[in-house]
């Protein structure tokens, strides 16, 4: 009976998905629960911040610069039609600080640092390093997962801020230095329209949430990966796909909450 068979497949998949969601939630709660030791030994977090934060610096800075330059160019072309080139500064800054900075930085972070985290933990599992740690009476969630989690959560807002600052600089280079928009109005329009609390802080909150989501997904996928080469590579792909989707969905939800009616 092909219908019964396909129904059974669908049923199994659904049950599995619910099962995994529960397991992921428990994993996340455990990570928070066992976070104490990594704050007592902050060096563990610092070490992971190097591999997730510092190693993502170049890609974040270069990407931020180019995104800002594109914004400067496109924004100028559009604003010129309405004769309001002076608003270029506020256009560049607002789009970066509110949206592009947190979102693009998080997407880059997911594919640079998130995938690396998944692969690293997946390989640790495949080569029995996690099991070995467990046999040495060391909790791998406290020793391996939690420091990486907090390193990611701390790094993400910093990276997003650097992305935005670099983007504003890129927009300045294209708009003011190359095209020749008035420098004074570029900055003053920007300052008049970008509100610290409303725009900058909300951007920081966004990137914090994205950092949370990306690292949680990356670590779970790594920890849950089947301990084989295919298992790890599949998990790495899932990390990038799922965290990208999570970032964009969360961005919609957060934007709806933050900027409603204001």
């Amino acid at each position: 009976m092909p219908i019964v068979k396909s129904l059974r497949v669908i049923g199994n998949r659904t049950v599995n998905a619910v099962w995994r969601t529960g397991y992921a939630t428990r994993f996340f709660v455990m990570t928070l629960f066992y976070s104490g030791p990594s704050f007592k030994r902050f060096r563990l977090i610092v070490k992971e911040m190097f591999s997730s934060g510092v190693m993502s610096l170049i890609i974040i800075l270069v990407a931020g610069m180019f995104v800002g330059m594109v914004l400067g160019l496109q924004g100028y072309e559009t604003l010129k039609r309405y004769g309001s080139e002076s608003a270029l500064g506020s256009l560049v800054a607002l789009s970066l600080v509110r949206e592009l900075g947190p979102v693009l930085a998080a997407l880059l972070f997911a594919s640079r640092a998130g995938s690396a985290m998944t692969a690293e933990i997946g390989l640790m599992k495949a080569t029995e390093q996690i099991a070995a740690m467990e046999m040495m009476a060391v909790n791998p969630i406290a020793r391996v997962v939690a420091p990486r989690f907090w390193a990611g959560v701390i790094s993400m807002p910093l990276l997003a801020a650097m992305f935005s600052a670099m983007g504003v600089f890129g927009g300045y280079v294209v708009g003011v230095v190359i095209i020749g928009v008035d420098e004074g109005s570029f900055w003053s329009q920007m300052q008049a329209s970008v509100d610290f609390q409303h725009d900058v802080l909300n951007g920081v909150i966004k990137s914090f949430v994205f950092g949370l989501a990306v690292t949680a997904i990356a670590l779970f996928e790594g920890y849950d990966a089947p301990p084989t080469a295919e298992g790890v590579s599949g998990a790495t792909t899932r990390t990038v796909v799922q965290s990208s989707l999570a970032i964009l969905m969360l961005d919609f939800i957060l934007t709806a909450f933050m900027f409603q009616g204001a």
Binding site: T127, Q129, A131, A132, M135, M136, A137, V138, R143
Partner: protein, 266 residues
């Protein structure tokens, strides 16, 4: 001292459809070193994982030091594991740490020893396996045999009372194999630990253990001292010890009628 008692241990997966171990019982006295022999996939590693407390039995129990392992909570289990050491199949060295940090790992995690003392201890452990000179190398820079020896140094870092070896000889060249076998024997004697070796390498294990259990398809099929095993006339043991192709462990995986599969009808 670590005394292990395994009682009616049964482990099954998929709610009883796959049986990995069935009604396994044995007892090991302290200071004894014994070996679980058997073909690949017979449940040896599963048995070892039960002794380490990494798996919970479906029924039956394992007592280590008088405590039933699967009834301990996580803290109790971790307390128990500090007295255990386990050498994994391919060493399982932490790839993001140097050889030195690997050996120092447990000392740093579980003790408050000053760094100078840890340094001396690590050097002593590495010296015992003859690899003091490799302390600042990364695991990826070591050969397979050297990695296994570093892992051995890490396993005995906190002088455990019970040491488990999961396929310690897998994938080693003859020289490394002899070196690792000899080290296991000497470390056992020096530490006075109980040791469990899971392997399918008959000749090497016969040289270094006191007692042998043969496992096949999840049950113990034979046991005895190395001499008894050598002299055994049980067909399974004979096949395994002498590496014969066909016997109780068949060459052919069960299949349908050969002629039908070829499409030749009689």
């Amino acid at each position: 001292m670590a005394k292990i008692a395994v009682r009616h241990l049964t482990k099954s997966y998929n709610s009883g459809k796959v049986i990995a171990l069935e009604d396994v019982s044995f007892e090991v006295q302290p200071y004894e070193s014994f070996c679980i022999l058997g073909p690949s996939g017979c449940g040896k590693t599963t048995l070892l994982r039960h002794i380490g407390g990494a798996l919970k039995p479906t029924s039956g129990h394992i007592k280590v030091d008088g405590q039933i392992l699967h009834e301990l909570d996580q803290e109790g289990l971790y307390e128990m594991r500090r007295k255990m050491g386990m050498l994994f199949q391919f060493g399982a060295l932490f790839t993001d740490m140097s050889v030195y940090d690997n050996v120092a790992f447990q000392m740093r995690e579980h003790t408050d020893l000053p760094e100078e003392l840890i340094h001396d201890l690590v050097m002593m452990k590495l010296h015992a396996v003859g690899l003091r000179g490799t302390h600042d190398l990364m695991p990826s820079e070591l050969s397979g045999g050297m990695a296994r020896r570093v892992a051995l140094a890490r396993t005995v870092a906190l002088d455990p009372m019970l040491i488990m070896y999961d396929e310690p000889f897998a994938g080693l060249d003859p020289i490394s194999l002899t070196v690792v076998g000899d080290l296991i024997r000497r470390l056992n004697d020096a530490l006075g630990a109980t040791s469990v070796i899971v392997t399918h390498d008959v000749q090497e294990s016969l040289k270094i253990v006191d007692y042998i259990y043969f496992v096949a398809d999840g049950v113990i099929v034979a046991e005895g001292t190395p001499d008894e095993i050598q002299a055994s006339d049980k067909s399974f043991v004979r096949q395994f010890v002498h590496g014969e192709m066909d016997g109780p462990v068949p060459f052919h995986y069960p299949g349908g009628d050969y002629r039908t599969d070829l499409g030749v009808t009689a």
